[in-house]
Symmetry: D2
């Protein structure tokens, strides 16, 4: 099929490659002149539909304003029966808005959560998509080319946002799984009883109930750098973890673990914790705790009394 692809970063660039390998005609557009195939969105659209089929444009740019403005531009350039696929990490509530806007001109809309990282190029990308069956049919050949050989693609529902919602929850789960391994690793590192922590992780990859791809990845990292000495304990979070917890709050779903995983990432980015300053202030006022001074010679019985 012919497909336009907007956004040729790490993800989009690899997806272009995988689609072309499958024999599809991809017209890629990116702000970056070193990456783009065409000079403009309009030029990209002009090259689509030359085989008489509907023009299909896959948007792969950051969520929020970049996606919104790209969709707005495409609304001008496309027409009745064409299709926009949002494959970025948009918030699921944005999809209904984009779908409704495009529908004003008879343009279809499919939202699609994509997982796969740098591994997707070779192994395929997991796809979770939402939208009307007739719209999905128009992009199905691309889905078939992008997805892993076996499974990995699912129609989450006809409501716009169903795909991004599923992808959002996927990322929330990912946060907590990562945090699970991370806490376990820190404990193994800290206590002086297990001699070779990377060997433990390697062994867990076979036969245990906690074997997973994330475990494979962590094991790989530990093989290169046993104590992760080259890394800082710093983790960004994308919108999806935040939205997962917000959706949980809104829908009265208890979410202790995913929420804590999110907050752990937030904490990791703080140079000093304001909350803990407040703790220090109260302790100080209460107990006359001289922060960072030594206890009196006779010792101190009730440091927190």
């Amino acid at each position: 099929m012919q497909i336009g692809l907007v956004g040729l970063g790490k993800m989009g660039g690899n997806m272009r490659t995988r689609l072309r390998k499958a024999g599809h005609t991809v017209v890629g557009y990116d702000f970056n002149p070193d990456l783009t195939d065409v000079p403009s969105l309009a030029a990209m659209v002009a090259e689509l539909g030359t085989d008489g089929s509907a023009k299909v444009v896959w948007v792969m740019v950051p969520a929020g304003e970049p996606t919104r403005s790209t969709v707005a531009e495409l609304k001008e350039l496309l027409g009745e029966g064409d299709l926009v696929v949002d494959g970025g990490n948009s918030k699921y509530t944005d999809d209904a808005i984009n779908a409704a806007s495009l529908a004003e001109k008879g343009i279809g809309f499919v939202d699609c959560g994509v997982s796969g990282g740098v591994w997707g190029l070779e192994n395929g990308y997991a796809l979770m998509y939402g939208g009307a069956p007739e719209d999905i049919a128009k992009v199905q050949p691309a889905f078939d080319a992008l997805k892993p050989e076996e499974g990995g693609a699912v129609h989450a529902g006809p409501t716009p946002g169903a795909g991004h919602f599923a992808k959002m929850v996927h990322n929330g789960i990912e946060y907590a799984m990562m945090q699970a391994y991370a806490e376990g690793w820190e404990l193994l590192e800290k206590v002086d009883i297990v001699e070779n922590v990377p060997a433990i992780f390697e062994s867990w990859r076979h036969g245990t109930v906690i074997r997973s791809w994330l475990l494979d990845l962590l094991t790989e990292a530990l093989e290169d750098d046993e104590h992760l000495a080259q890394l800082r304990g710093y983790a960004d979070d994308s919108g999806e973890g935040r939205w997962t917890v917000e959706a949980a709050i809104e829908n009265a779903v208890p979410m202790h673990v995913i929420a804590s995983s999110l907050f752990a990432r937030v904490t990791s980015r703080q140079d000093d914790s304001p909350a803990m300053k407040a703790i220090a202030a109260m302790r100080n006022q209460f107990g006359g705790h001289a922060v960072h001074t030594e206890p009196p010679p006779g010792g101190e019985a009730n440091p927190d009394a």
Copy 2:
């Protein structure tokens, strides 16, 4: 090799089968006359070492008192150069005590955490063991038979308890991973946007970063019972989750997520929450909240003010 196996429950029974399939001579003992091969521990020990090698007894009974008393009995029955392997879920701090006690008679000790569930029979058991290399050598053929074809066995260190410590952390990680999927599933179930939740889980098994064996298992369960309507939201916890959090506290390792996973299990076993009664009591005193009555006709502006 010849090996005694004490405890022929679901795990022990399957391990006997797998060891025998590998050609080893297993003398199994269990309280249950339907399961046991011999009438007593003494009878079991008498059948070992007939090939001139050291007597090796693998203990596979519940942690705590059952393991302690079994080790005490074996101390009477075994002698210099023999070996006891504790393959149960003992607390790692118990191992030094058992090792020291057996050492008084020259009996060796190896602790071994075993993972694999009902799947171990066919796929092999993951093994994490601690102890002196010369002791481990005596049980190595059994390890080789029990472990998965590839990997899955690791010498965690020479200190008694190293194996159980690694297995304990493994279970702590397991708790939080399960909780991660569980929270995500509850959110997907609750919100009316994704049509076929089991299909989402199935799709995640390929290409996503959260693919894992636990995901396979949950997917399997959802195929049989889409909304898990046949199950109660009730989960026991073994000692290992608790010990993981205790070890974290003792060693100053932050463990928000594994601790919360443990507390979620505890909560699941409460018919009514005492803590939440206290919350209700305070709200009542403060706001005159009539629990379970309707708001006044004009509405109520500040229910929690």
Copy 3:
């Protein structure tokens, strides 16, 4: 001063009483004919400003739609220089919208978070308000009458929503403080070492660092019902706890404790936990755990392996 008061539930009704005791003329309106002073909002507005001053209407109805529609009606009824005070528990982001809408007709707007429960009538209400100083001046006499004798009233800032934002955070803190006492109480109740738990709480009211009004309230409740046997462990949550956590997420503030307190309330309202069903499902698939059946006769070594 003359003041209109919309919403005469438990809070609004007591506030009317306190305002009248201070000598103010209050025209109260409520849907409920047994509570209202006038038959309609229009009738209420007609009775205001008869002394030549600006008409001031205090809205004390539930957040969201009820407040929005009341403000919309008042926009029709009031004019240039008049003032609407939103004293309900509105989300702080609603205030800018209401303020802007009223400003189209030159009507001023003040948002005011109110705390005090059923105790406010006698002790006064804590007030946190946001808005322009000239608007606040119009309602100042009412603030002076409502607030406690000493302190308890604060101008949070000129931005609409500043008052509700402060009140929202106040409620988030309240959730976690309640949860702190609740968890401590459950532990004291559970362990069989302290004989008279209510006496412990009573003693904490003097000299300890955890003395507080909430402690006073819980102590009171325990005096009436030592084990809180008359209560169910069930707690509603208002919007403010949820918005606090959402604001934390949005602003990258770690909030483990307030979030967990919120989730504990949510859990308390679930008959059965979907998430824990998923845990049970995974345990079942993995270990062949027959939920609620007994372990095999020989015991089970690895219930969670």
Copy 4:
């Protein structure tokens, strides 16, 4: 009464002063020659009981080894009918051991949790004590002198450790209350809507449901240093917070909030988080996330996919 007091740090020193003000004869001992009244424990004991009453020694030294060794020495020096009071922050499980050891010589034992900080000198100390009524009677005059004018003293039960258990839970509650205010303060500081955060805290001291002594203390601190710029976000924890969570785990009491408060303190003392290094490692392996580098020019659609 005559009373020996071992440990004259910040707490013990002030308690000596308060006891003397009440007319009691206090013989204080401390390692520090500048603080001590007598050169040795033996010299202290020799000065007690000169009025014919039982010798009573109040131990006010750090929990664990210092308390244990002091009790052991006192066992040598005291005799039948004498009394040791452990007023430090001992773990409640230590008390049964100390009580049993002293009982071998007929020496009584009372455990007493003490709260009050530097404020206790003037306001009195809250006291929670455990032990036999006849033993408590011997130290009652000291309790009466130390406690606040009204209330603040409670006999938690006859079992040794009942007092320390109550005090331990008190400290657990304290951790979570502090954390509640701290999280709320951080959010108020972070969001640019409330102009004068210290004024908000000051206002909460009157009429609100979250008024408390800790709030008074935090308000005081904010008056001196509006943004707590002079403090580092660093908080120690004493044993009592840890033991509270351990007791919760052991007794199957869900304790999300107190546990998280403890872990927040632990995190505050880490220069870099090992767990978050593991997170960074997994993200890196998965997404090729170049930690601390800029996104590619065209933006990046799926930073966490």
